[in-house]
Every structure is written in structure tokens, then in C-alpha cells.
């Protein structure tokens, strides 16, 4: 077991965990940040996506001992003073969810994409988001939401 100080959503949080325990289970089980979801445990579905220093990462594959001082943002950390980020708002505007279990991972993956590529083509969105599974099949609306967040309007 080790003591880790994690920088999460702007706060320093201390946890005691085995270094090989995944960041996902540390977030969910130790810190009660349950907006990050378990879907497969092998980096295949994207439900557990968080931002590590602004870049999408699969928290199920990330041992907490490897996180170091990286700045972690989870879905709970996007809203600021009651204001949603453009990507969150676009998901609402496009109705881009059904059961919503994949939504937090989709949103964080999209935030990461738009940070690196502010105006992606559809092909770039598909290529970037293809590791995120929506079993309800809401992909066309998620694509529309990312376009809307990137370009300000739905296209």
C-alpha cells in the first residue's frame, strides 16, 4: 500500500491504495467520484475516460502509482460555477444520450479531441472517438454534438 496525493479537479486529494490499483477504482471506490464508469477494464470501451494533463486517458488501465503529479479532470470537474462546458452543453442540445452510461467518457474524449484539434473533420472525430462504445447506438447524435461544440452550431 502507498499514500498518493492526486491532483483531481483542482484539488489535492490523498488516498491510500496499492500502487497497481487502477485510477478508475481509486476514483470510484476511494474518492466516490462515481461519474467515471467501469465498462470493460481493458481500455476497449472508453467509459472510464478521464483527462490526464488535458489528454484523454483510460483510467481502468492506469495504475494509480503511475499518475504522479498529473492534473486529473473527471466529468465532475468540467462544470464551473454552474456553467457547463461547450461539449456538455452540446450533448444536451443534441440529446446525444440514451442510458447515458458512456456519456462521461464520450464527453471527456471529445474535450480532449477539441483541445488538440479545435475544428475536426467528421473523419477525425470518428477516428478519435472510435475507442468509445455507446451500446445504445447514439453515435450519430454524439458526432453532431461534437460538431456543434467545435463549430458553435449543429451542421
Amino acid at each position: 500500500m502507498g499514500e498518493f496525493v492526486l491532483h483531481i479537479n483542482g484539488s489535492h486529494l490523498s488516498v491510500t491504495a496499492a500502487p497497481e490499483e487502477s485510477l478508475l477504482s481509486v476514483l470510484r471506490d476511494h474518492l466516490k467520484l462515481t461519474g467515471t464508469h467501469y465498462g470493460c477494464g481493458e481500455g476497449q470501451c472508453g467509459a472510464c475516460t478521464v483527462l490526464l494533463d488535458g489528454v484523454a486517458a483510460r483510467s481502468c488501465l492506469m495504475p494509480v502509482g503511475d499518475v504522479g503529479g498529473a492534473h486529473i479532470v473527471t466529468i465532475e470537474g468540467l462544470e464551473q460555477n454552474g456553467r457547463l462546458t461547450p461539449v456538455q452543453q452540446a450533448f444536451l442540445d443534441e440529446g446525444a444520450l440514451q442510458c447515458g452510461y458512456c456519456t462521461s467518457g464520450m464527453i471527456l474524449s471529445a474535450v480532449s479531441l477539441l483541445r488538440q484539434t479545435p475544428h475536426p473533420t467528421d473523419q477525425q472525430i470518428v477516428a478519435s472517438m472510435n475507442g468509445n462504445v455507446c451500446r445504445c447506438g447514439t453515435y450519430p447524435r454524439i458526432l453532431a454534438a461534437i460538431r456543434r461544440a467545435a463549430h458553435g452550431v449543429s451542421q
Partner: protein
């Protein structure tokens, strides 16, 4: 859970209801929510029918069901045992209540799937929520509105007929004075037992229902605030994990738990054949289970290789043919056009993104369980039976979950969590791993379908024989006009555990039937759409075929070896659908891609057009998996592909351009739309592939990267 047969519920029927004394527990109920108006129904007819059919003799827990409560602040709580799994029923039912009650949608809170608060409900399946729960709640709301008007009339000493209800207020139009609903109900314990049927607002007059109101709690999902069953946290909660056998039907020979029990805080729980652990966190619990040294005896068991022969050999006639008319054999022998074909479908997995999960908490001999299930009352009964409790000692709550698609009817995780919690003396959370969900849940049934059919040379169908082995009877009846028919579902011994899946067997039966219709059209040298319309009388099915064809531009272009167009459709559970698909084929790479789908849908009066569109698009996307590549591979009691890395599901890159045409029949009752939207895609794609290549692919999935053992090599890959 059955082998996939329809629940065959009676349609909702209104009755005249009688006044009953309020039982004690309902007065408690009112105290729980504070004063106000509680609207109850004596002997809810739809629920009584549901409980009477498949749960033979199941006693309703109470003889009065409370459906609606209005408090002093005009806030409305609506109680239903239906559950939200992503199909948007939380919003669409709230719209129907808001419409009849004449309140803004924001006043309404839906209390769903809580066995202590909601009236008994058989479960959320069979596309029954909209056609049965919709009218039920509308009736309660209309009765409440009338009761409030009468309460205002009494205060003003006016005739109730002279007052109007709108926007949460009862108004006297002559003086413009008004009471809010809260003012009329506040501080009192009013109970209104519905004693008569109500006139419901016609869909043509809807102002709130029938509109695209956004998901009422959407913000909770984009902020991570929504708590799914696997997100529930209780004070002093421990985490569980269960030791799984290395194959189906295995027996435990030996167990060495010494290494696992050395882990800090780990406790072994053994209860007959059940072996599990509890630990302070999930990581330690999983590690402890992997440290258990168990030896299992797994018997030899069938694989995909023998599957279809096994299903046919083990089948029985069941209840006999679903329909039999005319001289099928004679027509088959003499008609000029004849097509015979066997179709097969593999097992597939629901793979809901949230696996089975439960949090169980004991308080003396009372048990509370939060879990993801489509049947909270069914899981309550499973728990009561497993732990020898009375039903009212068990409280099941169903937080809106990470979906199910028919795959979460059962309470495995709930029972396991309750076992672990009882042994630990603390609340326990159990979340199945993806591998567990793939292996120890149940599957969409595999099946063999054999069709023989004949037509006259002008394309008039004369004979149809359809046998379904194992996959189920849903939508097995042909909607086409055919004088001689033999349609027969044969239950069989499934080597794998199987159960409900979105649309049940309708997807398989429609795939086979509509592939066959396409083959007959080509044999008769007719346009596949014209051939269908020639043999189809049902005006609603005709309408969706025509709408899909028109929006797609059917017949405008001919298929080529690189580009195929196909059409297919069907009806089940009150939904009517038809799809046109365009596929692109790369002959050099032997690959296929679906590039465009236009699907028409009609299910009566539309309650929420945007929500409906979302469901139909989702059904099309989910259908792509079963059509092209999803299949469970198994051998010797093991699933060989129990991971997303091995079991391919549709992703962004698989999604074609999709257009949905909704037909709003405000003159017809609203039917459910969660399921039947999945049936048309696979046959439309199969027919498009035939149009391009001349090759009929009669198997699902049609284009996996590698065939299942025993299956023919697919001519194309996706």
C-alpha cells in the same frame, strides 16, 4: 425468463372502479410525502392482468395502488414500477401526466422502479410501458385534475363545469381568480380513489405530450451526478467478488483459500456451491478471488460446431403450429415459383455498458437492494425466495441504469450481493466484471429457421411454411396475404442460457422472412418493393414500406457489383417499420460496409418525436452488430470471446448515414417503440448484398471477420 416467447399480455382495458377504504400503509405513505392529494386506483386493471398471466396467482401486495401525489407546493410525484434504461420513458410518461393534469413538465417527479413506493409491476419489457402505463397514468392524472376542479368549485360554491384547469391552477374564467393545485391540496390528507373511467385528451389536442421535450434529468448525465446502480455508496460499505467456475455446469472439486484470506481485510464467504469474498475495496476483492485456488470439474459440452443440428434434434412441437391453413404441400408442389432456404442465427450478447451490479444492505431481517434490473418486483421476489423472506421484507430500488436491451430481467447480482452482505454484516457492493457479464448473464437465443414458399408466376404468394427452432415465436406470423400457411415455433434445448433480447425473436424471424421475400421477388422478376405491396393488405405496414421507399429513392438506381440496395420491413408489438439499405462492396478486399439506411417507423400517436427518433436510430445501430459481426463463440462450457477486444460491437466507424421517417398517427393509440425498430436492418442489408453480388447470405452474423466454428466462410467481411 423464458426461451424468448412473447409475454402475450392482454391489452389495457378501462374498467369502472370502485371506492375502497384506504389501507393503513397508504396513510403512512401520505405521511411520508407530507399532506396533499394522493390519487389511487382500486384494483388496477392493467397491472392485475399482467400479474395474473405469467406469474400465475401472484398476489398483488396491496389492493389499492397509489399512482400520483400532489403536495402543497404543487409538486407532483408519479409512481410507476416501470424503469428507465435509456428508452426515455421517464420523460415521455411525465409528458403524458403533465398533459392530462395541465401542469408544466417541470412540476413532475417520476418515482420509478421502487418496490416500496410504486404499485406492483411485472417489468419493463415487451414494449408495454407506453401502451399500458401511458393510459394508466393519464387516467390517474385526468382524475386528479377533475378532483382539483371539484375542490375549487366547492370552495367557491360554483359549478365545477364552469371552471378550467391549466398551468397547475384551477381558474374561474369569469372572475380570473384562481387556486394553485398546491393551495387546493396543501396541509390536508386528501385521498381520491378513482372510481370511474376518465375521458383522456385526444392526441390531436396534446400540447406537452407529442412534443420533443428534452430528457428531464439530462443535466445529471452530462455532469456525472446521476448515480447508476453501480455508483450507489452506503455507509460502511464493503465490496464483493464471486468465484466463477471455469465452465458451465461445473462442480467444485477443491478450494484452497489460504492465500486470499491472508490479504488485509478479506473475508471468505462460502454458502453451499457459492464462493465469494468481501473486502474493503473492489480492487482487493478481485485480487482475493484471483488468489483462490479452485479445481473444477467441467463436463464436455457442445460448441458452435454442433449448435444448429443440436437445436433441430432437440426440438419439440411445443404448442403446435401458430397458424395452419390451406394445402401448403399441394401448393408447394405445383406453383411455378418455389424458394426453400434454411437460415441460422448465432447467440449474441446484450453487453449493456453497465454490467450487472447491486448494493445490498440488511437491517435485521429486512433487506434493501439497489440494483440494475428491468424487473424490480421480480428481483424482489427472487430475493424473498432465496432468503426465505416475505415480499414486504425486501425493498428493491432501481436507479436508472446503464441499459439492458432485454438482458437484465434477472437478479443474479442482487442475490449474490445480499449473500455477501448477510455474511459480512455490512452493506456490500458487487459489480460484475465485463467477463462475468459476457459469460454468466444470458444470451439472445440462437436459432434455425426454415422457410419454404411458393408463388404464381405473376408473383402472387400462394404457400408459406415457416419453422423456427429455438429462437422464438415473436413476429413469426407473416403479415403478407397467403392462403396456404404453416407457421410453427419449435422450442429446443439450448446449450447456453438464453432469454429476452430487444424484439425477442422478431429480429430473427423478420430476417428470415424478409430475406425469403426478396428471393421470391427476384425469382418472379419483380421489384422487391412492388412484390411486397402486391402481397400486402395491412395499410400500416404498406405505409411504412412506401414511406421508406420514397425517402430513400427506391428504384431510382440499379444495384451494381460494388453497390447494392435492399429493402425489408415488418411489424410487431404495435410498431411498423421498413428500411432501405445501401451497401458498398470492395470486391478486391471482400469487404462490405453499410453506407446509408432510411427507415420508416409508425407506432400510433407519437409521445416525444425526438425521443422516438433517438430510439429508432439506436435500434438501427444496434442491429448492425447482430447483422454483420456479433456472435458468441463457445465450446466445452466456456465463452471464447467474453471481452470487447474479442466480441465486436458497433462503433462510430460502423455507422452509416441514417435517416428516420416518423409517421405520426394521432388517431391511433401510442405503442411502444423500444424494440421493433431493430428488425428491418439485417434483412435490408442481406437483400442489398444479394442485389449487388447475387449471393444470398442466410446466416447472422453475415460478415464476421472469421466464421464461427462449423459456419460457412463468409463471402464478405465487415
Amino acid at each position: 425468463m423464458s426461451s424468448g416467447a412473447d409475454p402475450e399480455l392482454e391489452p389495457f382495458q378501462e374498467e369502472r372502479w370502485r371506492l375502497l377504504a384506504l389501507p393503513l400503509d397508504r396513510r403512512d405513505f401520505l405521511r411520508f410525502f407530507g399532506g396533499g392529494l394522493l390519487v389511487c386506483l382500486a384494483h388496477p386493471p392493467a397491472v392485475a392482468q399482467e400479474s395474473g398471466r405469467s406469474f400465475g396467482g401472484h398476489l398483488l401486495p396491496r389492493d389499492i395502488a397509489a399512482w400520483l401525489h400532489i403536495d402543497a407546493a404543487s409538486q407532483v410525484r408519479v409512481f410507476t414500477g416501470k424503469v428507465e434504461v435509456g428508452q426515455n420513458i421517464r420523460t415521455s410518461l411525465a409528458q403524458l401526466v403533465a398533459e392530462e393534469l395541465r401542469v408544466p413538465i417541470g412540476c413532475i417527479t417520476m418515482v420509478m422502479g421502487d418496490t416500496a413506493l410504486t404499485p406492483y409491476d411485472m417489468g419493463t419489457f415487451g414494449s408495454r410501458s407506453t401502451p399500458t402505463m401511458g393510459p394508466q397514468l393519464r387516467t390517474m392524472a385526468a382524475a386528479a385534475r377533475q378532483a382539483l376542479i371539484e375542490a375549487a368549485a366547492a370552495r367557491w360554491q360554483l359549478n365545477a363545469a364552469s371552471l378550467t384547469a391549466d398551468a397547475g391552477k384551477v381558474t374561474d374564467p369569469r372572475t380570473a381568480r384562481s387556486f394553485t393545485y398546491g393551495e387546493l391540496t396543501g396541509g390536508q390528507d386528501l385521498v381520491h380513489v378513482v372510481s370511474d373511467s376518465e375521458t383522456l385528451t385526444p392526441a390531436a389536442d396534446w400540447k406537452i405530450a407529442g412534443t420533443s421535450i428534452p430528457k428531464t434529468d439530462g443535466r445529471d448525465f452530462v455532469t456525472g451526478r446521476h448515480q447508476y446502480p453501480s455508483d450507489i455508496v452506503r455507509p460502511n460499505m464493503l465490496f464483493g467478488a464471486v468465484l466463477r467456475p471455469t465452465g458451465y455446469n461445473a462442480t467444485l472439486i477443491s478450494l484452497d483459500s489460504s492465500a486470499a484470506e491472508k490479504l488485509s481485510g478479506v473475508r471468505l464467504v462460502r454458502d453451499g456451491g457459492f464462493v465469494g469474498v468481501v473486502a474493503p475495496d473492489a480492487f482487493t476483492a478481485q485480487r482475493a478471488v484471483s488468489d483462490l485456488r479452485a479445481q473444477w470439474n467441467v463436463p464436455a459440452q457442445p460448441s458452435n460446431r454442433e449448435l444448429f443440428q443440436l437445436l433441430k434434434d432437440s426440438s419439440d412441437p411445443g404448442d403446435g403450429p401458430q397458424s395452419a391453413s390451406g394445402s401448403v404441400e399441394q401448393e408447394l408442389a405445383t406453383a411455378p415459383i418455389r424458394v426453400d432456404q434454411q437460415y441460422t442465427v448465432q447467440y449474441i450478447a446484450h453487453a449493456p455498458l453497465e454490467p450487472r451490479a447491486a448494493v445490498a444492505e440488511w437491517n435485521g431481517s429486512s433487506l434493501t437492494v439497489w440494483t440494475g434490473t428491468q424487473r424490480p418486483f421480480g428481483v424482489r421476489d427472487e430475493l424473498a425466495q432465496a432468503f426465505h423472506l416475505a415480499a414486504d421484507q425486501v425493498h428493491v430500488l432501481q436507479p436508472d441504469m446503464g441499459s439492458g436491451y432485454g438482458g437484465k430481467h434477472t437478479g443474479e447480482a442482487a442475490i449474490e450481493a445480499a449473500r455477501l452482505a448477510r455474511a459480512a454484516g455490512k452493506p456490500v457492493k458487487l459489480v460484475w466484471t465485463r467477463g462475468e457479464e459476457f459469460t454468466w448473464a444470458y444470451f439472445r437465443p440462437a436459432g434455425v429457421i426454415e422457410i419454404r414458399a411458393a408463388a404464381q408466376s405473376d408473383g402472387t404468394l400462394v404457400a408459406w411454411e415457416h419453422h423456427n427452432y429455438n429462437s422464438g415465436s415473436a413476429a413469426i406470423a407473416t403479415p403478407y396475404v397467403i392462403p396456404a400457411q404453416l407457421v410453427h415455433y419449435h422450442p429446443a434445448r439450448s446449450p447456453l442460457r438464453q432469454g429476452s433480447y430487444r424484439s425477442l425473436a422478431a429480429a430473427a424471424n423478420v430476417f428470415a422472412r424478409e430475406s425469403h421475400m426478396d428471393a421470391l421477388a427476384h425469382a418472379a422478376s419483380l421489384n422487391p418493393l412492388d412484390f411486397r405491396l402486391k402481397n400486402l393488405a395491412d395499410p400500416r405496414l404498406r405505409a411504412v414500406f412506401q414511406a421508406a421507399g420514397e425517402a430513400f429513392g427506391w428504384g431510382r438506381e440499379n444495384s451494381t457489383p460494388a453497390r447494392g440496395f435492399g429493402i425489408a420491413g415488418g411489424t410487431d408489438k404495435g410498431g411498423y417499420t421498413a428500411a432501405c439499405a445501401e451497401v458498398a462492396i470492395d470486391p478486391a478486399a471482400h469487404s462490405v460496409r453499410i453506407v446509408r439506411v432510411v427507415q420508416a417507423w409508425e407506432s400510433g400517436a407519437i409521445v416525444n418525436p425526438d425521443g422516438l427518433r433517438n430510439q429508432i436510430v439506436g435500434a438501427i445501430v444496434q442491429a448492425i452488430g447482430g447483422a454483420l459481426f456479433e456472435q458468441i463463440l463457445f465450446a466445452d462450457g466456456r465463452v471464447l470471446n467474453p471481452r470487447f477486444a474479442q466480441y465486436r460491437v458497433p462503433r462510430f466507424s460502423d455507422v452509416p448515414q441514417i435517416e428516420v421517417v416518423l409517421i405520426d398517427r394521432k388517431d391511433l393509440p401510442s405503442a411502444g417503440a423500444g424494440e421493433t425498430g431493430i428488425v428491418a436492418l439485417a434483412p435490408a442489408v442481406a437483400n442489398a448484398l444479394f442485389a449487388a453480388t447475387g449471393v444470398r447470405i442466410p446466416v447472422l452474423p453475415m460478415a464476421p471477420r472469421a466464421p464461427a466454428p462449423g459456419a460457412p466462410a463468409p463471402p464478405l467481411r465487415s
